[in-house]
C-alpha cells in the first residue's frame, strides 16, 4: 500500500504557532492530545454528542472530535490549557466554588462552551446558559451547579 496521505498543518494553539505533518484523517482532538500532548481536551463519546472535546476555533466553541486537524490549518485554536495561564479564569474558579464538577471529565468542554457563550452574550440568563450547554453532557452534577457557576463567572467578568 502507498504511504498514507498527509498534510502540513500550521495552527496557532494557545498563542503559539505549531506546525506538523499529520495524516489527513487525524481528528483535531487527536492532534491536540497525541501530537501536542494537550490532554486537557477530552475524548468522551467520539460521536459529537457529549461535548467533552470542545475547544475554540477562531474564538468559537466547536467539537474537536468532529473536525479534521487539516481543517484547522491557518486558524486559531484555544484549549482549556490556553484559557488562563494560571488556570484561574473566573469560569474555572466559579466551577470550583459552585461544586460544578465531580469526576471532572466533562469540565474542560463545559468551560470552553461557556466561555464561547460569554464572548457573545456577556450577561446571559439561566436559559441562555442551558441552551449554550445543550451539547455538553455531565453525568455527575445534574447541571444545576454548572449553570450557577457560569452565571456567577459572568458577573465576575462583567465587573
Amino acid at each position: 500500500m502507498s504511504r498514507e496521505p498527509t498534510s502540513r498543518v500550521e495552527i496557532e494553539v494557545n498563542g503559539q504557532i505549531v506546525a506538523h505533518d499529520v495524516p489527513n484523517r487525524t481528528l483535531l482532538v487527536d492532534f491536540l492530545r497525541d501530537v501536542l500532548d494537550l490532554t486537557g481536551t477530552h475524548t468522551g463519546c467520539d460521536t459529537s454528542q457529549c461535548g467533552a472535546c470542545t475547544v475554540h476555533l477562531d474564538g468559537i466553541a466547536i467539537k474537536s472530535c468532529t473536525i479534521f486537524a487539516v481543517q484547522a490549518h491557518d486558524k486559531v485554536v484555544t484549549t482549556i490549557e490556553g484559557l488562563d495561564p494560571d488556570g484561574r479564569h473566573p469560569l474555572q474558579t466559579c466551577f470550583q466554588e459552585c461544586h460544578a464538577l465531580q469526576c471532572g471529565f466533562c469540565t474542560p468542554g463545559m468551560i470552553m462552551a461557556a466561555a464561547s457563550l460569554l464572548n457573545v452574550v456577556p450577561e446571559p440568563d439561566a436559559e441562555d446558559v442551558r441552551e449554550a450547554l445543550e451539547g455538553n453532557l455531565c453525568r455527575c452534577t445534574g447541571y444545576q451547579p454548572i449553570v450557577e457557576a457560569v452565571l456567577r463567572a459572568s458577573k465576575e467578568l462583567a465587573q
Binding site: L27, I60, K63
Partner: protein, 265 residues
C-alpha cells in the same frame, strides 16, 4: 476510517472538477454529518474536497425581495443575522434549533440541504417558502430539488452555491425534537405565501413533504384548531423505536398548530 487525500480549492468550479475525477471523492462543508458517517464506516472517501476556502460561498444578502444565503453560511450565522431576523424570522428560529451550540458553529445550510436527511430542519423551510437552490450550473426550485430520503436533484459534480428565499413572508417553524439526538420527530414549517398557506413537514416521513391536507384545512380556516384536528393518515409515516407512524402523524398536526400559533401571535 480509510486514508484520503485532502484538497482545498478556491473556486466552486475547481471543487467540481476535483469531485468528478474520482468516484469516491466527497466534498465537506461543516462535516457535521460526513465526519460521523466516515467514523462509523458508513461512507468511504479517497479524496476529501474542503469547501471552506471558497470565499464566494459565504454570507447573507438581500437582492430585491430575495434573501440569498451562501452555502457555507453556518446555522449560527443564520440564527443571529439581522437580515434574516428582520425579513424571515421563522428561518432564524429554525436555524437556532438545529443540533446544539457547537454543531451550529460548524454546520452549514448548503451541507444540510445537499444531504437532505429525512429529519433535517432546513428542507422544510425551503419547501414551504418555495426557495430556489442555486448550484454551479443552474437554479432548482425546492419542489424539484428534494427527491426523498437523502435524495436530491444534484447531478454528478454539481454543487450548491447558495439558497435564495423569497423574503418578507410570514412564516414559523415548530418541531418536536428527539430528546437524545435533537433531530425532528416531526417538524412543520408554515408559510403564508402569495399563493396561499404552505405546510412542509420534516422528520415524520421518509423525506420532506407538503401536507396538502393541512394546507386545505387552513385555507378553510386559518386557525391552530383547524390544523390540530386534521387526521393525517399514518400511511407513509416513519415508524421506528422512537415513535410509531400513528404518533408521528399526530405530531404533525400538533406541530402545525404550534407553528401557526407562533405565526399568528
Amino acid at each position: 476510517m480509510t486514508p484520503f487525500t485532502y484538497h482545498s480549492p478556491a473556486t466552486l468550479d475547481e471543487a467540481s472538477a476535483l469531485l468528478l475525477e474520482s468516484p469516491d471523492a466527497r466534498v465537506i462543508a461543516g462535516g457535521m454529518t460526513l465526519i460521523p458517517t466516515l467514523k462509523q464506516g458508513l461512507a468511504r472517501v479517497d479524496r476529501l474536497i474542503d469547501l471552506a476556502g471558497i470565499e464566494a460561498l459565504y454570507g447573507i444578502e438581500t437582492r430585491g425581495n430575495t434573501l440569498r444565503i451562501g452555502a457555507m453560511t453556518r446555522h449560527h450565522d443564520v440564527a443571529t443575522s439581522p437580515l434574516v431576523l428582520a425579513r424571515l424570522p421563522g428561518l432564524a428560529t429554525l436555524a437556532k434549533g438545529i443540533g446544539d451550540f457547537q454543531v451550529r458553529n460548524r454546520g452549514t445550510i448548503g451541507g444540510s440541504v445537499a444531504n437532505n436527511d429525512p429529519a433535517a430542519d432546513y428542507p422544510a423551510a425551503l419547501l414551504a417558502l418555495g426557495a430556489t437552490v442555486i448550484t454551479n450550473r443552474r437554479q432548482i426550485a425546492a419542489e424539484a430539488f428534494f427527491t426523498g430520503m437523502f435524495g436530491t436533484a444534484l447531478e454528478e459534480g454539481e454543487l450548491i452555491a447558495a439558497v435564495a428565499f423569497p423574503a418578507d413572508i410570514r412564516c414559523a417553524y415548530a418541531k418536536f425534537a428527539n430528546p437524545v439526538s435533537g433531530y425532528a420527530m416531526a417538524g412543520t414549517f408554515v408559510a403564508l405565501a402569495e399563493g396561499g398557506v404552505r405546510v412542509a413537514v420534516t422528520g415524520a416521513g421518509p423525506g420532506v413533504f407538503r401536507s396538502t391536507l393541512h394546507e386545505a384545512a387552513l385555507r378553510e380556516r386559518l386557525h391552530p384548531d383547524a390544523a390540530r384536528s386534521v387526521p393525517l393518515p399514518e400511511d407513509g409515516m416513519i415508524s421506528d423505536f422512537h415513535a410509531t407512524a400513528a404518533y408521528r402523524a399526530h405530531l404533525v398536526s400538533v406541530m402545525t398548530a404550534r407553528a401557526l400559533e407562533e405565526l399568528l401571535s
